[in-house]
Amino acid sequence: MSYEVIGITVLWTFLYGYLIVASIDFGAGFFNYYASVTGKGHVVQKVINRYLSPVWEVTNVFLIFFYVGLVGFFPSLAYYYGTALLVPGSIAIILIALRGSYYAFHHYGNKGRLGYQLLYGATGLLIPASLSIVLTISEGGYIKLNGTNVSLDYGALFTSFYSWAVVLLAVVSVLYISACFLTFYAHKAGDEGAFRILRKYALFWSTPTILASFLVFWAMSDHNSEHFAKMLDVSWLFVLSFLFFVGAVYFIWKKKRLGLSFIFVMLQFATAFYGYGAAHLPYLLYPHVTIYDSFTNDTMAITLIISFLAGLCLLVPSLYLLMRLFLFDNEYVQGKK
């Protein structure tokens, strides 16, 4: 494998990690609010907070990791995306900042009111929508190049069927992933009340998720037929993804093997995400930037890969410890510690 491919694989893996952990977080904010409005807040909130409090900061790091890796491995990409994304990027940062700090303010400070929960829930859906713009514009057609000057074509972006399909998929899959995870967590906690509610959410959001996935496929064939053709080449990955989806929903429906069902959810998104990513190569920004012409020098690439491996030796045991204490420790999950 060339350094370029290793680099983009590492980054894609981190983006995938962020997709999962952030979805749980973002969706939880929405359910938190929705449950409060429908008068079931106290049942659900306990489970949500037990999981989120110790890990919310770690969730944030995944995003930074991806970003730093991206500019590290592909510095000249920073020029294109940096210039074009000033406005949507800044808005996403502001939303993330408000959300993160107000989670901490609320949680460690004073208990917030409904208005705060609305803000928390709303940002949880707006952030994935604004972040998904990066993936949308990577398909090409939304960036205007004028000499060396780069700008984002808002008209094209906001009127495009494809970009709205991606936003829709981002939002519904956030809700679906989150609900599936929380169902598993509530079940583990032995919290029958929360489990019943969250299971309903999970089943409810499964249909829109799979519909939105097909919608994106369809929109893609229209917007970027080259990418679509390459995705058909790896269509087995998407078939696999669909089978994992069916398996996950089946177990949730049957109320059994919920741990396995969440693993299926992760695999469902992993196969689709890597399939999409692999078909996107070699382009990082279609058709202007490929992984080859924006890649950093070889020395830096090797150093980054080495430091990445060294860092993993430190991170994996630490993450394992974190999960053992707060995810696999039944007494903690059940609220006894």
Partner: protein
């Protein structure tokens, strides 16, 4: 193609973000050291008060970490959004320390989460101390790596440039550049120092408000004693930083010192007013030979002046006041903590007086101001370069038309976060003073210990 308006607003926005972020970042690096020390002292002396101190500091610390994390995220992404040309070029050199910083941060985040949510899970306090070690190390390491990124901008090395492209990169050599040792040491030590005086100010404030609990006295003595050590260390490292500047970035030192003519036996100028036309300084306190000693350890040494640099390559001259503020505050803090320490040893009554407590309270905000002025000095003193000698700031900025709008949005964000922090912190500690918490914990423990 340079967009002057975008350059200007990019600089203002970056400065606003940094200025806001470093308050939280500095405390984020410094405070965990104190939490760790308090926990350690508590275990060693078997004194519940110090353990409680560690916990109360942690509660405040978590709020500041939260804002530090989100503004740090903003800062990281703004590097690319506001300075795409800079990142496109410098990304080839600064990627490694930037990457390592993220690792250190990740490490800290994981263990902070564990520490916070296992407070009453282990009987053995030593286990809690062990969890604090990676938090403190992670904080200091991320400060180290991010300062290395900044030192590369001041003193770029470890690569060649051919046709505007960076080649022959040596990432390790780039990290260990001449600016790195003094910069890293100065940043880390001043973070400890700032945390010491901020925590001391809080203790002094509680004492002044009439809570004469032994807990606050212990906190005050511990933090000021460490504050003395860290402020002396800061002064020594500051002196080394001056010597670095004299050798590698003489224009920054010359502008900070209003040193126009290259000459031997140069005197150090403190404060004063400058007549820009005649380049004459009035009302200043001049220390003969001071600058030569600061620059090269030798009163007869030659110090390079601004005359060696073209007009358009000189940093702005107002950085002199930033330099003076930083140094003056640093000196005051050394004096303040030294007198308190001596006074406690010799049992002078007046170090407990209201006036002295007020001075200690002032030392908290003053040390934060010193950090701000220090960073403004180092950043503005690098102008007009973003990568010294290689890329001008004006060439690095975005060409996007909307930076001014973003400036407004981000300023609003920082306003909200700033007010939020103050409100949450006040509620947190006012509603639950230490007397109440000691009472609660004693009930829990069945009344052991004092």
């Amino acid at each position: 193609m340079i967009n002057e308006k975008a350059v200007f607003f990019s600089r203002v926005l970056m400065e606003t973000t940094l200025t806001f972020h470093i308050i939280y970042a500095t405390l984020g690096v410094g405070v965990p050291i104190f939490i760790m020390i308090a926990q350690w002292v508590g275990i060693r002396k078997n004194d519940e008060h110090y353990i409680l101190m560690a916990r109360r500091w942690t509660r405040g610390y978590v709020v500041s970490v939260a804002v530090g994390v989100v503004t740090g995220t903003a800062l990281g992404l703004q590097l690319t959004l506001l300075w795409p040309n800079f990142m496109g070029l410098a990304g080839n050199i600064i990627a490694l320390p930037l990457f390592l910083e993220t690792f250190a941060f990740f490490f800290e985040a994981i263990f902070l989460g564990i520490y916070l949510y296992t407070w009453d899970r282990f009987e053995d306090q030593r286990k809690h101390l062990l969890l604090l070690v990676p938090v403190a190390i992670g904080g200091s390491l991320s400060a180290t790596f991010i300062t290395i990124v900044n030192s590369i901008m001041n003193s770029p090395q470890g690569f060649d440039i051919a046709n505007g492209e960076i080649i022959n990169v040596n990432p390790i050599l780039a990290m260990f550049n001449p600016a790195m040792p003094t910069k890293v040491a100065h940043v880390v030590i001043t973070a400890y120092m700032t945390a010491a005086f901020v925590l001391a100010a809080i203790a002094a404030f509680r004492l002044l408000k009439g809570s004469w609990h032994i807990y606050h006295k212990k906190a005050l003595f511990l933090t000021l004693k460490l504050g003395l050590i860290f402020s002396i260390a800061t002064a020594i490292i500051g002196d080394f930083s001056g010597k670095y500047l004299a050798n590698y970035q003489p224009e920054k030192l010359a502008a900070a010192e209003w040193h126009f003519d290259t000459r031997a036996q140069a005197s150090l100028v403190m404060w004063g007013l400058l007549n820009k036309e005649t380049e004459e300084v009035s009302y200043a306190l001049k220390i003969p030979y001071g600058l030569s000693i600061l620059a090269h350890w030798d009163p007869n040494s030659i110090v390079i002046g601004l005359d060696q640099f073209k007009e358009n390559l000189r940093p702005p001259l107002y950085i002199h006041y930033l330099f003076d503020s930083m140094v003056t505050i640093g000196m005051l803090l050394v004096g303040l903590s030294f007198i308190y320490w001596i006074g406690k040893k010799l049992k002078w009554k007046w170090v407990n007086s209201k006036i002295y407590l007020w001075l200690i309270i002032l030392s908290g905000p003053l040390s934060v101001i010193a950090v701000e002025t220090g960073w403004w000095l180092t950043e503005v003193g690098r102008q007009p370069w973003v990568l010294r000698g290689i890329m001008r700031t004006s060439e690095a900025a975005t060409t996007n038309e909307n930076v001014n709008l973003m400036l407004i949005l981000f300023s609003l964000l920082y306003l909200i976060l700033g007010v939020g922090t103050i409100v949450v912190m006040t509620r947190m500690f006012k509603k639950y003073p230490v007397e109440k918490e000691i009472e609660d914990r004693m009930l829990e423990k069945g009344g052991v210990n004092s």
